[in-house]
């Protein structure tokens, strides 16, 4: 392809690096999410392992140039295996002063700061709360390497002859930045040029404009003195396969769809929009040719109610929300426990309590998932550990819900929901079948007749002749399914409901441990902290500490054998993005002196900090 060939012979020295963390930041209007996504695709095609995290502003459209309006996208790409989008960017690209103000402190010392100097106008500086021009601040230049570039002007010059409206021209400047970074890291660029053609296909002028802005950026790197060298990040050792970049919410939606199909039934998704869960509704609502029905209910209570009604009708009923929604669904989830129908409740956790920090991530709804309903109301709880694991966790949640005729709470969070990882695309045919049988046998039938192994009751769908029956929220007789107020029956039913859930443990895989399988400390995690803990563990192992990492997938029931495992370590350390919730469960259940490592900042753990805090505990100075 033209461009590629004209520029493919680099004239500058090339340095090898293994891992780079880059962050693009600018105004919401500057198209940073798009720039980041394209650079991610290029890096994927370069064969790197990658992990991304977008950081949207809390406001819909904060006034242009303000701090509140800053949008960012971080990518970690490497020739090694990586677990997180990275603690701190090595390279920070900022398109305006506000973006600098918000992101500068994160940039590593000695890191590279690429700046569109044209955006550093008086008014923009004021909006960003700067008195003077921060770029002239010498301390800045001492701490990091600044690359001041008149991105806007250069773009305008390059596009001058296309005589497009200036507004349109300026909009292309993010492609200048993308081109420049693509040069800097030897990215394969064809995918981006193709993408531009598709995206702007309707207007040749726009295709040309964006392509040129991209090339200009590329050439700028190649030709000007300002960059002494470029960098090479070799392909990583990655399991062969066809990959695509997957966000957690999209993976979760796909997992639900696939599971319902493998269970040979329909998927019913009842939901009420809420950040950061809404994208699951958006995704599913566009796949109704897959036997998917979506229902945007009037509120969360109706959403879970409709899902339960659909389960009664024979569909896989799923409801998705975030913490505030779960706080409303409690009563209906209790009904689901009582009538024993398959239901999945997805909670994309966010910063709480109450409205809290709606756009930030947190893991503080675990105890609610376990105990957040009145009565003895056991709930199966599973948590996804990475964006792509959201697919598997969702699939598993549906499998268990259907097999045990029970509601299952599926926990994810804002970090997984919007973050992405490369997904090794499975063949649908290779996914396991989920044997879901509707009950039609009327001999000795009653609605609470139980399967001896699973203790689950039969799934009888209305329309089945001869099996007409009534279910409901009042206690039912163990032997007939009729209403019963008998004291002993109530205790028996309460026990059997509990036994059914704890019984799931018998089919769970033995917990896997990464790192040392005995020694100083076992680091126990769940959910989205997987990446940070895995990375921290690797680092601690490198430092010679005998630590293992056990990541729980099922929070209720817990897998068998944890007690033996815990006994093999001197410390049990539980990092969580809350004030210590799983740690309570472990201490209660195993009487083990597990200690929390807590963070409640609406952000994932930074690997360095986590490793440091674990070390402190190991050094016994709690």
């Amino acid at each position: 392809m033209g461009v590629a060939s004209t520029v493919s012979t680099g004239s500058k020295p090339v340095k090898e690096v293994s891992t780079v963390v880059i962050r693009f930041a600018g105004d919401s209007g500057d198209g940073m999410q798009l720039t980041g996504t394209q650079f991610t695709n290029e890096s994927a095609l370069a064969g790197n392992d990658i992990a991304t995290f977008p950081d949207f502003p809390a406001e819909i459209r904060a006034p242009a140039g303000t701090l509140a309006g800053v949008s960012g996208f971080q990518l970690n790409f490497s020739s090694e295996r990586i677990f997180t989008p990275g603690d701190q960017p090595d390279v920070l690209v900022v398109m305006n002063p506000a973006a600098l103000a918000v992101n500068l402190e994160d940039l590593v010392d000695g890191g590279s700061l690429i700046v569109d100097t044209d955006a550093f106008t008086k008014s923009n500086l004021r909006k960003a709360g700067y008195d003077g021009d921060p770029l002239e601040d010498t301390s800045l230049n001492q701490r990091v390497r600044v690359f001041p570039i008149p991105v806007t002007k250069l773009t305008q010059q390059a596009l001058a002859d296309l005589n497009l409206p200036n507004k349109t021209v300026v909009r292309c400047k993010n492609f200048f930045a993308l081109g420049l970074c693509s040069w800097l890291y030897h990215r394969p660029i064809d995918s981006t040029l193709d993408w531009i053609r598709q995206k702007f296909g309707k207007s040749e002028a726009l295709v040309e404009a964006n392509t040129r802005a991209f090339q200009t950026g590329w050439n700028y790197g190649e030709t000007t003195e300002i960059f002494a060298s470029s960098y090479q990040v070799r392909a990583a050792e990655i399991e062969p396969g066809t990959y695509t970049n997957m966000t957690g919410n999209k993976a979760l939606a796909f997992g639900l769809m696939a599971a319902a199909a493998k269970a040979d039934t329909q998927l019913f998704y009842g939901s009420y929009p809420i950040t950061p869960a809404s994208d699951i509704l958006h995704e599913l609502s566009d796949h109704k040719n897959f036997g998917v029905t979506t229902f945007q209910a009037e509120d969360e209570i109706a959403a879970v109610g409709a899902a339960l009604g659909a389960s009664f009708a024979g569909s896989v009923g799923v409801t998705g929300t975030s913490g505030p929604g779960v706080s409303l669904k409690g009563e209906t989830l209790g009904l689901a426990v009582m009538v024993e129908l398959p239901l999945v409740c997805v909670n994309i956790q966010r910063g709480g309590p109450s409205t809290g920090l709606p756009t930030k991530t947190e893991q503080s709804d675990l105890l609610q998932a376990l105990y957040g309903r009145h009565g003895e109301c056991p709930m199966a709880v599973i948590a996804a550990s990475s964006p792509t694991d959201c697919f598997d966790a969702a699939f598993e949640a549906v499998r268990v819900a259907v097999k045990y005729m029970t509601p299952v709470m599926l926990l994810s969070d804002g970090y997984l929901a919007n973050g992405s990882k490369p997904w090794n695309i499975p063949n649908y045919a290779d996914l396991p079948e989920i044997p879901a049988k509707y009950w039609t046998n009327d001999v000795g039938f009653h609605p609470y007749l139980r399967d001896e192994d699973t203790l689950s009751r039969p799934w009888v769908v209305p329309g089945t002749p001869g099996l007409e029956h009534r279910i409901g929220g009042l206690e039912k007789d163990y032997d007939s399914g009729n209403i019963s107020y008998l004291p002993t029956n109530h205790e028996k039913m309460t026990r059997v409901r509990a036994a059914k859930i704890s019984g799931i443990a018998d089919e769970l895989d033995a917990p896997e441990i990464a790192g040392a399988d005995s020694g100083d400390a076992l680091i126990v995690g769940w959910g989205s902290t997987y990446g940070s803990i895995a990375a921290a563990t690797t680092q601690l192992l490198d430092e010679g500490k005998k630590v293992g990492h056990l990541h729980l997938r099922w929070l209720n029931p817990l897998p068998n054998g944890l007690d033996e495992i815990f006994a093999r370590y001197r410390h049990i350390i539980v990092p969580e993005l809350n004030f210590g919730q799983l740690v309570r469960v472990l201490r209660d259940r195993y009487l083990v002196d597990a200690v929390p490592v807590s963070q409640v900042r609406g952000q994932p753990f930074k690997v360095q900090q986590l490793a440091a805090r674990i070390s402190t505990i190991l050094e016994g100075s709690k």
């Binding site: 109704k288 009923g317 002749p465 007409e468 929220g473």
Partner: protein, 346 residues
């Protein structure tokens, strides 16, 4: 609810479940149960295709007594749960049984949204103007001044008019009947079943224990004759005893009046039209019940206040899926999984 094609030979008995009925002696719910069990076999719908969904309340015990599929859910949520059931299985005949507390108090939001969406379900609201199961607190339809367990000095909350609320929410079928009016109740049930879309049926029901005789003056003996306006599509709005028929006419500056039927030119008498919004809204603007109880200035509109055909929600759900299939073909997971940018690692 539409009737299923192939008629099934069933009798009232087929719809009586094996559970013994647990309402108080003399409760109006018995009469309603009897009429429903009588009407069901006449609908020609196989028993297994009928589902009764209820919330919580005396009235909501209903499903246990029907030998069909049934779901006794939680307080106020029946319309929401029934919505999922119906969307997942549009072929089922779904009947929601609720009370003035279950449906209009805690369940008010689900009710108005069900009516707005026009799902093809039937809603039977047993209005006894009291909370029965919890032993006698006032409800959103209780009268101002009514002394109940929770209003020892009398209720100060203005009541809802169930039909007006339903109409305001966009209900395509709004009707009213009475527990004791056997034939009328049967007819309304048939009409509700025949209507495609959400059928709202307010049934005035007597609670002899906590609100005995609440409706007597408009439902019993002479009161019924004097105060009930039997709506018939295309028929003039006349009511009252044979010897003294009254009629409703629209007075000057749009103020409705009740006049002696023979005192006006018949052409002046308003004619009922279920399909005319102006008429349906007009009927809901009439005060048929005193805010503090007793008859109002106008008679009780009985029967079908509104009955119009609008797009049915579950039809649209099915259609959307079908259209998408014909547009994109049945879902192909492998295509879907690979629909984003992909790259190969070998």
């Amino acid at each position: 609810m539409s009737q299923s094609a192939e008629a099934v030979k069933l009798t009232r008995k087929d719809f009586v479940s094996d559970q013994d009925v647990r309402w108080c002696p003399g409760c109006g719910d018995y009469a309603i149960l009897a009429q429903v069990q009588k009407v069901m076999p006449e609908l020609g719908i196989p028993r297994e295709k009928i589902v009764f969904v209820s919330g919580i309340g005396c009235s909501s015990r209903f499903p246990y007594y029907m030998n069909t599929y049934g779901f006794h859910t939680i307080h106020g949520r029946a319309p929401a749960i029934a919505a999922g059931l119906k969307m997942a299985r549009p072929d089922l005949s779904v009947w929601i049984v609720t009370g003035d507390g279950d449906g209009l108090s805690i369940g008010g939001n689900h009710l108005i949204h069900a009516l707005r969406r026009n799902l093809d379900v039937n809603i039977l609201l047993f209005n006894n103007e009291i909370y029965g199961l919890t032993k006698g607190q006032y409800s959103p339809t209780s009268r101002m001044g009514q002394v109940t367990k929770s209003s020892p000095q009398g209720v100060i909350d203005a009541p809802f008019d169930a039909a007006a609320l339903a109409l305001g929410a966009g209900a395509t079928f709004v009707s009213r009947t009475v527990d004791v009016a056997q034939k009328h109740l049967q007819n309304v049930l048939h009409r509700a079943a025949a209507h495609r879309g959400t059928s709202f049926v307010e049934i005035l029901q007597n609670c002899p224990i906590f609100n005995d005789g609440a409706f007597n003056d408009v439902t019993e003996g002479d009161g019924a004759v004097q105060h009930q306006l039997m709506l018939e599509h295309g028929q003039p709005m006349v009511f009252g005893p044979e010897e003294a028929r009254k009629a409703i006419v629209m007075g000057p500056s749009m103020r409705p009046e009740v006049v002696a039927a023979d005192s006006v030119d018949p052409a002046q008498i308003l004619v009922h039209d279920e399909t005319n919004d102006a008429i349906s809204f007009f009927l809901c603007s009439l005060r048929w019940r005193g805010v503090t109880g007793g008859p109002g200035a106008f008679p009780v509109p009985m029967g079908v206040l509104r009955g119009v055909d609008e797009p049915v929600y579950d039809d649209l759900v099915v259609k959307e899926a079908e259209d998408l299939v014909s547009k994109r073909g049945a879902g192909d997971f492998d295509k879907l999984f690979a629909s984003g940018d992909t790259w190969v690692v070998n």
